[in-house]
Amino acid sequence: MAVTDKAARRHRWDTRFAPYGYVAPYFLLFGVFGLFPLLYTIWVSLQHRNLLDEGGASLVWFDNYARLLADPYFWNAMGNTMSLWLLTTVPQILFALGIAALLNRKVRTRTLFRMGVILPNITSVAAVTIIFAQLFGRDFGLINWVLDLFGGGHVDWQAGTATSHVAIAVMVVWRWTGYHALIFLASMQAISPSLYEAATLDGASGWQQFWRITVPLLRPQIIFSTIIATTGNMRLLAEPLLFNPGAAAATGGSDRQFQTAALYLYEQGFTNYDFGYSSAIAVVLAIATVIVAGLGYLVTKRIQTE
């Protein structure tokens, strides 16, 4: 009797409490090193907290935010962030759709091509940015050399706002397009071939079929990719930081022409050690990201099925 009683108790303990033990390591570690810092950012953003000041931290409520709204460098960084968001997100999605459509045909050596498009995504952002910074070099850069062949002038890519944004956007688009293309390809393969067959019999061209059948049916994936791309592209840091590495890298160019909000956060936090102000930037950037992602959702949601 005692044995079965003990076994029953053990069984009850096992079914009732053991599962919490299995999920506990995740919640413990995430709580301490993920969620807590995230929430604590809001608290730090309400403080004057500079590592270089002797006084330590003091609560100043919304002073950091007031300062932020009047800070031209912050607005410059937000403007650059928005410009880069547009220049990266839209081409990423469009190119990814095109590449996925190519890969969706019956292709020989398809594993090779699929691996090829995802290759940029697995390379490190630091290494790739350093490589691209050389390719975009003013005097000996390969891209200027190619432009020269076609009669283009020598572009000083880092110097201008537009040119530096284009160069950075190229790096981001290069790195992420293949990833989205594979997401789209997976859904394209689920589309019934009979739809295309019927359209072909009706005389629709490949181009028409793409826009009228493929794209509308991919709406959920396009929405998903737009949101994922937005959250990534709103916090670009490594690309602008390493595009012009050096002592003043955190300013994103001599005139801050390619300083993103994430880079300004880094500059305030880890070159000026102004943690309160830097946290306020983090909070505003998070809110801006949610708004822009919502905007992206509203736009992509409008894709209609015929």
Partner: protein, 296 residues
Amino acid sequence: MTAVLDPPAPVRRPAGPAVRARRLARRVAGPWTYAALIAVLAGSAFPVYWSFVVSSQTPDAIDRVPPVLVPGGHLFANIARVFDTTDFALALTNSIVVAGTVTVSVVFFSTLAGFAFAKLKFRGRNVLLLLIIATQAIPTELGIIPLYLMMSEFGWAGQIHAVIVPGLVTAFGVFFMRQYFERAIPDELLEAGRMDGCHSLRLFWHVALPAARPAAAVLGLFTFMQAWNDFFWPLVVLVPENPTVQTALSTLASGYTTDYTLVLTAATIGTVPVLAVFLLFGRQIVGGIMSGAVKG
């Protein structure tokens, strides 16, 4: 997950009347499709290839017009220079320790929690799962200031466990493994195990863990590559004297030297481990992404 193991066979359709229409209907790639795909392939591979070319040339080759586009014979001389002039050996060791520890930990804890979420019943399970899904969308980098303050408080700033510990679990990993277990293990199997008096930990060890292998491998690949390539947090919390490969690259490029052949050789060396993983397991990586293994 089946997409990882055996991609679906191409569907053959009956031919239409005209050749072009038939090709369109059967979705067979024409010459233009191949040309476009080869161009995409070339564009994808070029920057990495070019970095390799520069790494194998003498330092003056990078400034030559027209540019040098074929590998030379100086690769090992340049690699030797990288290891002589910087402590790149330490950076590589650190990166291997960080990426290795993080990968083992993420795979283990994700499998454990994913199993519980998929196959065990407990109060609050759905709420906790929803919490995990929600946190996946939050960029945790935004908490970087408090995280740095914490690490300074612990006295970990500048040391690699400051990089390892926050990476030990990911919401994505738990969710990914949970999705896999949902389909991979029939409930009857676990019921039978229960009848035989198996403790849930034994069920996990003898039933779930062996069944999880394919998904755990994909998760491990992604986690390793992500940990190896991680840049922002190591840059913030580490010091140049104790770098990972990525922060060492950043330091090297930041005016430590104007010898860009040296910098690009370091970049090439730093890319080799992920490239090796990619060449060995490319199929699984492609399959993982196509089956929804998001790694935003």
